[in-house]
């Protein structure tokens, strides 16, 4: 049974009397212990869909249709209080910028212990011991001393380790990491992602990794959802998608990035135009204005998401070579 099951989720922004869908009819699931990547550019809805799972949508955003089932429970029917208990204990989240997600005027120890006491009901002394263990597990040296320090004493990479320790505090079943290493240097990025991968493996934790970096997806995820304009346009095993993309957007993304493992003289083939503006009304397939293969039907009819793909004219070995 999947750990998380999202069905036909639509999330809209309500502003100035208008309704703008940011996530459109998204369905996916994740198995226990699995790592799933959500890839997309700005405005693709990858972050908003995860905030909906966490029950952390801001006031102007509302789920207008669909269901989110976690461990057999319907998350959308839970009260705010029940949702609060679930967060941290069963699902936790790691954000991009650790400096803004940590409280600058409370010690690191207090912030980790808060999560432990809240979720596990341990005494202060037990919570402190667990906090020190967690810091050690995420690779913070001198944990006994550092637990007394404040976020500004920590470097960006170390802060992100603290965020991971907090996320792990109650041994959740699912961690959602939203661009967890985008603000970090490459060598530190590798350390943090290796750490997350090891921890998820050791604890059997499922991981939703939200990123725009195709290399990170290839190295760390088993399955990928490619998102564009609020929809999942292609979904499947990372290997299959990279080796034989079926959606023109996926193909375009892969051809847009320069690669260290290929000859540097291979020219990049960018996708024309800009990512779909959520506020613009685009008929049919939201990718059609940028799609080199678009035909009449793409301008009028929204392609249904079927067998891991939403495209009227899926690419095949022949069409791919023809470009």
């Amino acid at each position: 049974m999947p750990l998380l099951e999202i069905d036909n989720l639509t999330v809209s922004l309500f502003q100035d009397g208008t309704e703008t869908p940011l996530v459109r009819d998204v369905s996916y699931s994740i198995e226990p212990g699995e790592t799933l990547a959500l890839v997309g550019e700005s405005g693709s809805g990858k972050s908003v869909s995860s905030l909906a799972v966490m029950g952390l949508l801001s006031k102007a955003l509302r789920v207008t249709s669909g269901t989110i089932k976690f461990d057999g429970r319907d998350l959308l029917s839970l009260s705010a209080e029940e949702m609060r208990k679930l967060r941290g204990r069963d699902i936790s989240m790691v954000f991009q910028e650790p400096m803004t997600s940590l409280n600058p005027v409370r010690s690191i120890g207090a912030q980790i212990m808060e999560s432990i006491e809240e979720n596990l009901g341990l005494t202060r002394a037990q919570a402190r011991a667990r906090a020190i263990d967690l810091l050690k597990e995420v690779g913070v040296a001198d944990a006994e001393q550092r637990i007394k320090q404040y976020p500004h004493h920590f470097s960006g990479g170390m802060r992100q380790r603290v965020m991971i320790a907090i996320a792990l505090a109650a041994d959740p079943k699912l961690i959602i990491a939203d661009e967890p290493t985008t603000a970090l240097d490459v060598t530190i990025q590798a350390q943090i992602l290796d750490l997350m991968a090891r921890i998820c493996r050791d604890h059997g934790t499922a991981l939703i990794l939200i990123t725009h970096n195709l290399g990170i997806v290839a190295r760390y995820a088993q399955r990928v959802n490619v998102m564009y304009g609020g929809r999942i346009v292609e979904s499947g095993a990372a290997r299959a998608i990279y080796n034989a993309p079926r959606h023109p957007y996926t193909e375009g993304l892969l051809r847009s990035v320069p690669r260290l493992d290929q000859d540097r003289s291979i020219p990049l083939k960018p996708i024309q135009g800009s990512p779909a503006d959520p506020f613009a009304s685009i008929s049919g397939c939201r990718f059609h204005p940028r799609c080199p293969y678009a035909a009449q039907v793409c301008r009028t009819e929204v392609p249904l998401f079927k067998d891991g793909l939403a495209c009227h004219f899926p690419l095949s070995a022949n069409t791919r070579e023809a470009v």
């Binding site: 060598t187 990170i216 990279y242 993304l253 020219p267």
Partner: protein, 337 residues
Amino acid sequence: MGALLRIEDLSVHFPVRKGLLQRQVAEVRAVESVTLSLNRGEAFGLVGESGCGKTTLARTVLRLVDPTSGAIWFDGKNVSALKGKALAPYRKQVAAIFQDPFSSLNPRMTAGQILSEVLHVHRYEGNIRDRVAELLSICGLAPRFADLYPHEMSGGQRQRVGIARALALDPELIVCDEAVSALDVSIQAQIINLLEELRVKFGLTYLFIGHDLSVVRHLCDRLAVMYLGRIMETGTSEELFGSPRHPYTKALIDAVPAPDPDGEGMREHVALAGEIPSPLNPPSGCVFHTRCPIAMDQCRTNVPPLTQLGGHHAAACFALENVRAPNPTKTSKGDLQ
């Protein structure tokens, strides 16, 4: 085709002052004894992580920061000591493109005003309106963009305006500081291609600063890897990525995951341990020794010189040939593979 820009033994130190009397208590050694030269018409890359001094070096070349010691030669002239009005001709020949076009473009001016301002300031002699239209079209923007404000454009379009502004005065050298880092993947590719096209079309020389190795490798013929203010390794893209010799370069390349699940599954990679030390208090000897997997005793006390390895390739590491005092002028033989 001589060197257009030569940076000679350049150091940039910033004093750290404290207290009522603003006494200098410490010094940030942002750039330390850097020597490099850019040939006319080439794209030269500077890569490194935060605090490595790449941006300070770029700002020094732009003469926005004064060098502490060393010299910058541009087209045969020493420009490092020029001040005030004497800098004006240099400022015409050297332009910059920054990372975030949203904060480097004036939000209260239209693209047309932004471009004409540069032309006005430098007393452009031709027709300014025609030149603005020409610049927009060179950068792939329709004429109507002249009337748009930065907030009315997408990130990619704003960066095109930033590029048009850099091109306005027909510069010879453009310093690109993380010029594509803030853009979405599909837009990044468009801007990379535009930069390449412009370089060929106008014979431009680029000093391209970036942290994304695959982007820098794609765009640049030669590059230098910096760490804590010093150059660790330099060479052509082929030399550096084909046979990296410095342990830091190897670690950097290794840290970049390739968009290829098969390759990534096969590849064993070891993340570099430790953190980047503070440039306020850099390690003694080789600045990389605290994170280096093969550090030896002498690395803790002596600074390794940049050793020539043949071709354009040079690296600053004692472990290159396992000799105590490498001769910096002699090319090592037999180990170039």
